[in-house]
């Protein structure tokens, strides 16, 4: 068992670390940088965390400074006894804080996409389309409905809010979309190694946090000459085609314009529970809204 004086030191150190975590989260939230790490639905909960953390730090501080010595006891939760163990423990907690404050926040890019393996299709190939925009099971109804609405557009704009659903709908009915005009923005992915020379306009789909980020990409026609470096944010407008890529039928764009754009405020895309409603809402707004 530790003596009361060392318990006080431990409590103070812990209070400082807890405050550090609270400040780091507040800093991320203030800089609007939380979306680099977690999806918006989770970010809500993380923004609340500084409150309990600060309260915990305050009560530890009160115990350390004003607590009666007889009341300070670590018999239930043992505090580390040796200096080495304490340093290791608090060093471990200090590490994420240092990493967080020292390195700049940056979105995942081409290199991470290559390591995770970029997905050029949304669904399994055998799930292919039958008749025009009809769903073969009730779970395709959302995609079928979205595909029907997209098809009526002269130029299909892929809105970031419903990127993965739009991509899914086009992929499911790719034969019907052959030759349609499309406009999509994302970062430029350059294939390395086995798929060398391939380009794709890509986005990371994030469900919970960056650990589950899945890169999705729409292949660009290999004939097009693109001199931009990888990870440049681009907007591509062109015609949709079905192409064979490594033995699979994938959607491909033959670009007419490739324009570099600024990185959007939210670089990742998130899944949308009701993509049709979201689409109706966005397309009701001015057309430029999706280009951002």
């Amino acid at each position: 068992m530790n003596d009361p004086r060392s318990i006080r030191v431990h409590y103070l150190l812990r209070a400082v670390l807890l405050l550090g975590f609270a400040l780091y989260i507040a800093h991320l939230s203030q800089q609007d940088a939380l979306h680099y790490y977690v999806a918006p639905k989770l970010a809500r909960w993380i923004r609340l965390c500084p409150v309990p953390l600060a309260l915990m730090a305050a009560s530890l501080g009160i115990q350390a400074l004003f607590g009666k010595s007889s009341a300070l006891c670590d018999c239930e939760h043992q505090l580390p006894r040796s200096l080495f163990r304490s340093t290791a423990l608090y060093g471990l907690f200090l590490f994420p804080l240092l990493l967080g404050f020292v390195l700049p926040d940056r979105a995942l890019g081409s290199a991470a996409a290559a390591r995770k393996g970029i997905s050029l299709t949304y669904i399994a190939p055998e799930e292919g389309s039958g008749e025009r925009f009809t769903a073969s099971n009730p779970y395709q109804e959302e995609f079928a409905g979205l595909a029907g609405r997209l098809y009526k557009q002269p130029v299909i704009t892929v809105h970031p809010e419903i990127f993965s659903e739009t991509f899914g709908a086009i992929d499911l009915y790719k034969e019907q979309f052959e030759g349609k005009q499309i406009k999509v923005s994302g970062f430029l992915y350059k294939g390395q190694g086995t798929d060398g020379g391939s380009f794709a306009v890509s986005r990371f789909l994030v469900q919970c946090c960056t650990a589950d980020a899945t890169p999705f990409g729409i292949l660009l026609d290999p004939q097009t000459q693109i001199s931009l470096p990888a990870d440049t944010w681009i907007e591509v407008q062109g015609k949709l085609h079905v192409a064979q890529y490594q033995g699979k039928a994938v959607v491909q764009i033959t670009p007419e314009h490739v324009t570099p754009i600024l990185q959007p405020d939210t670089p990742y895309v998130y899944s949308n529970a009701d993509s049709i409603a979201a689409w109706e809402q966005i397309s009701g707004a001015p057309a430029e809204a999706g280009a951002k």
Partner: protein, 329 residues
């Protein structure tokens, strides 16, 4: 017993302070030193997993301290059925009441066990809680909207695996496998003498729990994000070529990726066209029950021998279950 004195810290504090000053003042002026794609994806993954787990760990620690301070021991044992079959069913369904992610589970279960929850019910709760809850069911259904039966199979298999392991533990383990330090419930509660009353006492216990669990969480996050940012998924897919290899591969992947149970279905869905459905099932059932982060936390709760026994049971049950399920589906 060594006496901990702040002066002993001085020789360590000076280099630490030097490093911190170096880190804060000098490094931002030389960003090119740190401009490395591996380091960036490491940081993004590490902070991402840590932030994702933080609300759940805090919630678990808070619930556990509230239980400790406010709920008398008899309540818990009165609620839990005495006979094993209803008790195991109770454990499986507890996840619907407490939809806590696996990271918040351990502190909560620890407190429940201290308050008299039998071991086998606790294990069933640890295993089924992160899968058998409405949030995970909804997420799985969304991810597999083209193959909804995979979501039903996931729930069914998780239930079967948790119940089977609960029975095995009920039948085979008699001695308490808890680590010693937690068993020592002192009869004399010293919480009344905590300065600031019960509210402060809850918060002090919450932070004790937070530091206790946090170290395993951070080590788990470090390992996971290290693997995520340095490992090439493509190079691993070659291992999955053998008939049962794909099952082992997907289970290994679930273990090392340590994804949250609400999001792993979306990652599994991207493997839909490369791997058999049964192996995806194994991925989605094993991951929430056993992964890097979680196994370190289980090792902190249970004695090493029992923890290893539990890991083996989980692995064997999920493997057999998912192979059988794929034959039947």
């Amino acid at each position: 017993m060594t006496i901990f004195s702040p002066f002993k810290l001085l020789p360590l504090l000076i280099p630490a302070v030097f490093l911190i000053i170096l880190g804060v003042v000098w490094l931002p002026a030389h960003p090119e030193l740190l401009d490395n794609s591996y380091l960036h994806s490491f940081k993004t993954a590490f902070i991402g997993i840590l932030l994702e787990a933080l609300p759940f760990v805090l919630l678990g620690a808070l619930l556990s301290s509230l239980l400790r301070v406010f709920v008398p021991d008899e309540w818990i044992s009165r609620w839990i059925p005495r006979r094993p079959v209803p008790a195991i069913l109770f454990g499986c369904l507890l996840g619907i009441l407490f939809p806590v992610c696996e990271c918040g589970m351990i502190p909560l279960v620890r407190r429940l066990m201290q308050k008299g929850m039998p071991l086998y019910v606790a294990v069933v709760f640890i295993l089924s809680g992160p899968i058998l809850n409405p949030v995970v069911y909804g997420a799985t259904l969304t991810a597999f909207r083209t193959h909804p039966w995979l979501a039903y199979a996931r729930m069914g298999l998780a239930f079967a695996v948790a119940a089977a392991i609960g029975f095995i533990i009920y039948a085979t383990v008699t001695k308490s496998p808890l680590r010693l330090s937690i068993r020592r419930e002192t009869g004399e509660p010293h919480r009344l003498s905590t300065r600031g009353g019960r509210f402060v006492s809850v918060l002090v216990h919450t932070s004790d729990e937070f530091f206790e669990m946090g170290k395993y969480l951070i080590i788990g996050c470090l390992l996971t994000s290290g693997i995520q940012s340095f490992m090439d998924h493509g190079s691993l897919e070659a291992i999955g070529g053998m008939p049962l290899g794909s099952y082992l591969f997907m289970m290994g992947l679930a273990f090392v990726l340590s994804l949250c149970s609400t999001s792993d279905a979306f990652v599994a869905a991207t493997f839909l066209h490369t791997f058999p459905a049964g192996s995806l099932l194994a991925f989605m059932v094993l991951g929430p029950m056993l992964d890097f982060k979680n196994s370190l936390m289980l090792l902190s709760l249970f004695k090493t021998r029992f923890a290893l026994y539990l890991f083996f049971l989980i692995f064997a049950a999920v493997f057999t279950g998912s192979v059988l399920a794929s034959l039947w589906l």
